[in-house]
Symmetry: C2
DNA sequence: ACGGAAGTGGAAGACACCCTCCACTTCGAC
DNA sequence: GTCGAAGTGGAGGGTGTCTTCCACTTCCGT
């Protein structure tokens, strides 16, 4: 690949990343190209379809995501690690409007993504088991609850990123409080979210 | 209005209600007309714009919504009333995909809606005050927290309505647990959601 | 410096959407 | 039954998508 082409490619990815983060995935390809200072043809030469552009842009994010989980999973204090995972994932989601949309729509059928995701899930499952063993995490917590948190967090869309992050923090604080194994209240109903979601 | 026209109008509203509930507000006018068994012109004769159709369809829902709040507000047990409001609103939202979308996008500048909404908010505020007074509701609960719950609940979109309702129930259970004035954990950070949202 | 491959921009194709137009049909008071 | 107004369906105007096409430009090995 020629060096000028490489530069353009990088500018496209940068432009797409910023634009997706700020305005979500519903930005037009023309707009992304314009902000990158190239024509749409250049964009389509590198990414034959919009979905591929989305994939490229969020591959890095996903990597950051899973490595965050893996790191937290090694925390000697399992409950602290658990909290950190929830907090970090939600904050990343809150800061980037395209982030969760990308995972919900474009990614489900991508191989390397599934692989990374699985690895992250396994690491998180281990963390959950340890946190339960220490008695800090309520025993009826399931992995579906993380999905629940992320979906709920995804609903927090406001005008400004700051407001979204603030709302997200408050949401997470409420969740974590509920996830603690304290006074034995009637626990939430069981739920087969994973089955329902396929 | 002629009787055949009235019939058509009713079929349009019914069709729109079902379709919005099932697939959200992004259904095309053509599709709504098709399901109602009429041409688009008939639809546009009754509802000059898509927004007006949305308004008509959800006016009834909004009414049910506010009357539910008002009824719960008169519960002698303030905490029970509080819980019922949260549970009912979230369930309505979970059962109808268009419901919350309608309020977030189409309604903000409608007069009777604002009026109803204000009345509901006042009723709810009274309920909150009473629930705090009985010591069951945590004192730092704010009205913004209801918005937070509804936004979070709005993020729960799944393939089937049943799965969404189940997820919503679990979410609400977690929230209500956190909203109870029990063991004094560090409370969530304060938050000016209302200001940020305008 | 030159020639061809790689790269490029903007116009335009294909499609979906909201909405308008108008020739045609149907109702219902007389 | 007649007739005018009310009602109707589907074509198509305008706009916004994603994507393709192609004449033109730029790079870089020779």
């Amino acid at each position: 690949m020629r060096v000028d082409a490489r530069q353009n490619r990088e500018r496209i990815v940068a432009s797409a990343r910023e634009t997706f983060a700020a305005d979500g995935l519903d930005v037009s390809m023309t707009e992304i190209a314009r902000r990158a200072g190239v024509g749409v043809a250049t964009l389509y030469r590198r990414f034959p379809t919009k979905e591929e552009l989305v994939r490229e842009v969020f591959a890095e994010q996903l990597e950051a995501c899973t490595s965050e989980v893996s790191r937290a999973a090694e925390d000697p204090d399992a409950w602290r690690g658990f909290c950190r995972v929830v907090e970090k994932l939600c904050e990343m989601q809150a800061r980037d409007r395209g982030f969760s949309a990308a995972f919900l729509t474009a990614f489900p059928d991508t191989v390397p993504v599934d692989e990374l995701r699985t690895r992250a899930e396994e690491a998180f499952a281990g963390l959950v088991a340890r946190a339960k063993a220490t008695g800090r995490l309520r025993p009826d917590f399931t992995l579906d609850d993380l999905t629940l948190v992320l979906m709920a967090n995804n609903g927090l869309v406001t005008e400004s990123v700051d407001a979204t992050v603030a709302a997200s923090r408050r949401l997470v604080a409420y969740f974590l409080q509920s996830f603690q194994a304290r006074d034995p209240l009637p626990p939430p109903v069981r739920l087969g979210l994973r089955d329902a979601l396929g």
